[in-house]
């Protein structure tokens, strides 16, 4: 498991380094005044990124695990399950969000998010249907209230529905 984790680390580090390389490449084409800042920043970062990548690879080579954080809590999430399982669940969550976005594109934001809330309550939280419906209605009510009070807007769908559904 540790090996796999390390390899995702390396891939991410490599991608970050590549992004900085692209930053350098792209900046070369800009007008002088627009170029300096991103060019120098990404040049420095490209070098630092390469060093980081080398360190990551060395660590994997030697089988050294990452050092403990210096106290920043939000680093180093501890999981009581396999990382592959975590990644799988993460994938499912992202997929659900993409489906939600698809819904927003098609039937608009309020109705999609209401359905989203109802479905999550029913199938993830495992509540009874009527509680799920209450939660959905509460979400819709909140949206309607906030958008009226604070003049906020939401994405409309392909299918236009009457307020507050679309």
């Amino acid at each position: 498991m540790a090996k796999k984790l390390l390899s995702i680390r390396i891939v991410f580090s490599a991608l970050v380094t590549l992004a900085f390389a692209y930053g350098v490449y792209e900046a070369l084409g800009y007008a002088y005044l627009a170029k300096i800042f991103p060019l120098y920043v990404s040049l420095v970062l490209l070098a630092v990124g390469l060093i980081n990548l080398a360190l990551e690879i060395r660590d994997k080579w030697k089988g050294v695990a990452e050092a403990k954080s210096g106290g920043t809590a939000d680093l180093e999430v501890k999981w009581d399950m396999q990382m592959s399982q975590v990644l799988q669940k993460f994938g499912v969550f992202v997929a659900v969000i993409i489906v939600l976005y698809g819904g927003i594109w098609f039937i608009g934001y309020p109705l999609s998010i209401t359905i989203f809330i109802i479905v999550l309550y029913r199938y993830v939280a495992g509540t009874k249907w009527h509680w799920a419906l209450v939660a959905g209605a509460a979400g819709l009510g909140f949206l309607a209230l906030v958008s009226k009070l604070l003049y906020m807007d939401w994405p409309e769908g392909l299918i236009k529905l009457p307020w507050p559904l679309g």
Partner: protein, 499 residues
């Protein structure tokens, strides 16, 4: 002095008080939710403050951020899960106390300590403004550029498990900030031909993507309730008395809080550990620590509220945020049309004092509400996370869409969220990225002005040289300590963090 009391008058107006109260209630709620802290709270409020008068907006923003370290104590004490990163050390002794049936005592002590710490932070901020004024005014663009660089290098070096990753994370932030139109010339950078990117990615999207999204996902994956059944027990007054008895601990840790808040890069996630480590090192009888010593609750709680006052100092005076939430606050100032930095002490001193009064008042209201409403709030922590998550998705998507009201906001949120999640899993410090993002424009503008005005000579100015030396020193020290830390891999947890 006159301005100080004029601002008090503004703060006590009903409209402002109402905003402050809204902020406090929101802050208390966000503090209770595990993982979500000042950054997410501030970011959610950004769409609301567009077009608001600055005094009211300050009530809302500062009211919220001031009390998060107050209410985040609930989950720390009741369940041993930090409500936000500033309350982790509280768990060490707060949770054992709750297991002994003394949760009320721990909370009473914590809220009193929070209150005193918060007021202390506000007091220091008040005193420092007139003292720092001449220094601030002596700073030109070259010095401000170096200061921003110093802030970022400290964030990077101190917040990661490997300084190099911290620097890279800050760099990711700077490059995200460089997307879109260049400050000095009409040129669009890194837009990939996408119209949405021409104005750059908005702060709301970056903040919620990097911080809220990963938190929601992780809590859903873990799938547990914030808290199990909870009983408060008795001893509120004992807790208050405990804090008053240990007034010197409160004072010392408040000083620590202000200093840590003031230094860029440390912020919420270490202030509690530093205070906790300090109190262990300076106590003669250490046996009870970790088993329910009330001093272990008082120390981090007084420090974490005091840090907000400290954090506002560099934010207002130099436009350099001391922490992630201050970075968002800085973005909020720009939305309100206020340019932080030297002009703040000449043109907008009244606003600074409004902020200070709001900070003090919010701490009082927050602590009072936390004690008065402790029973219902404790019940809130029993709600399983899967009940809250769908609504949190609603709030972050809705808030993000307000940024430019285009589909780009939603897509960018998802992409930033994925980036933030990966960074979180693999030890890339996200606060560094956020601060880099917020400072990106300033860095470029300061550099531009420096070069235009002084040519290459800006590098030889005394202030620049001094700041440059500090940067080299701090990065060097960071790398030195990091290599030392790596050698004994299993060092004592608090001892190491207190170092």
């Amino acid at each position: 002095m006159e301005t100080v009391f004029q601002s008090l008058g503004v703060v006590l107006q009903p409209g402002h008080l109402l905003m402050l109260l809204c902020g406090v209630v929101m802050g208390l709620s966000i503090g209770i939710l595990p993982g979500l802290g000042g950054i997410v709270g501030m970011t959610i409020l950004l769409p609301v403050i567009y077009g608001m008068d600055p005094h009211s907006a300050f009530g809302l923003l500062i009211g919220m951020v001031a009390v998060i370290p107050t209410s985040d104590t609930f989950p720390s004490v009741m369940m041993g899960i930090p409500g936000s990163s500033a309350s982790q050390a509280t768990i060490m002794d707060g949770y054992p106390l709750a297991k002994k049936g003394e949760a009320a005592r721990a909370l009473g002590a914590a809220f009193t300590a929070s209150l005193i710490g918060g007021l202390f932070g506000a007091l220091v901020l008040t005193l420092i403004i007139p003292i720092a004024r001449p220094l601030v005014l002596a700073f030109g663009s070259p010095e401000l550029f170096m200061l921003a660089l110093l802030g970022m290098s400290m964030v990077g070096v101190l917040s990661g498990n490997r300084p190099i990753k911290g620097i890279l994370a800050a760099g990711i932030g700077v490059m995200i900030g460089a997307l879109g139109d260049a400050p000095a010339v009409p040129e669009y950078r890194y837009t990939f031909g996408i119209d949405y990117l021409m104005d750059g990615i908005p702060l709301v999207v970056v903040g919620l993507g990097l911080f809220a999204f990963p938190e929601i996902v992780d809590l859903l994956i873990k799938g547990r309730a914030i808290s199990e059944t909870t009983t408060l027990g008795k001893g509120w007054l004992d807790g208050v008395k405990d804090t008053l008895k240990h007034k010197f601990i409160v004072l010392r840790c408040s000083v620590i809080g202000v200093i840590v808040g003031f230094l860029p890069g440390l912020g919420g996630s270490v202030v509690d550990w530093i205070a906790y480590g300090h109190i262990i090192q300076t106590s003669r009888d250490r046996e009870k620590f970790g088993k329910g010593d009330i001093r272990g609750v008082i120390a981090p709680e007084s420090a974490n509220n005091a840090k907000e006052g400290g954090g506002l100092i560099p934010t207002f005076l130099f436009g350099i945020p001391g922490s992630g939430s201050m970075a968002v606050f800085l973005g909020g100032l720009l939305i309100l049309g206020i340019q932080p930095g030297p002009s703040m002490v000449t043109e907008n001193v009244d606003l600074i004092y409004t902020a200070i009064w709001s900070l003090a008042l919010a701490n009082v209201i927050g602590a009072t509400l936390s004690i008065a409403l402790s029973k219902p709030i404790t019940r809130l922590t029993v709600i399983p996370f899967s009940y809250l998550a769908p609504f949190m998705v609603l709030i972050i998507t809705f808030a993000c869409y307000q940024a430019t009201r285009s589909w780009g906001d939603l897509v960018a949120l998802l992409l930033m969220g994925i980036l933030g999640w990966i960074m979180k899993q693999y030890g890339w410090p996200r606060p560094a990225a956020l601060i880099g993002y917020v400072l990106s424009d300033n860095l470029e503008t300061y550099l531009f002005i420096s070069v235009q005005r002084y040519g290459a000579e800006w590098l030889t100015r005394t202030g620049v040289l001094v700041l440059g030396a500090i940067i080299v020193f701090s990065v060097g020290m960071g790398i030195f300590f990091q290599t030392k830390r790596r050698a004994p891999a299993s060092g004592g947890e608090h001892g190491e963090k207190a170092a």
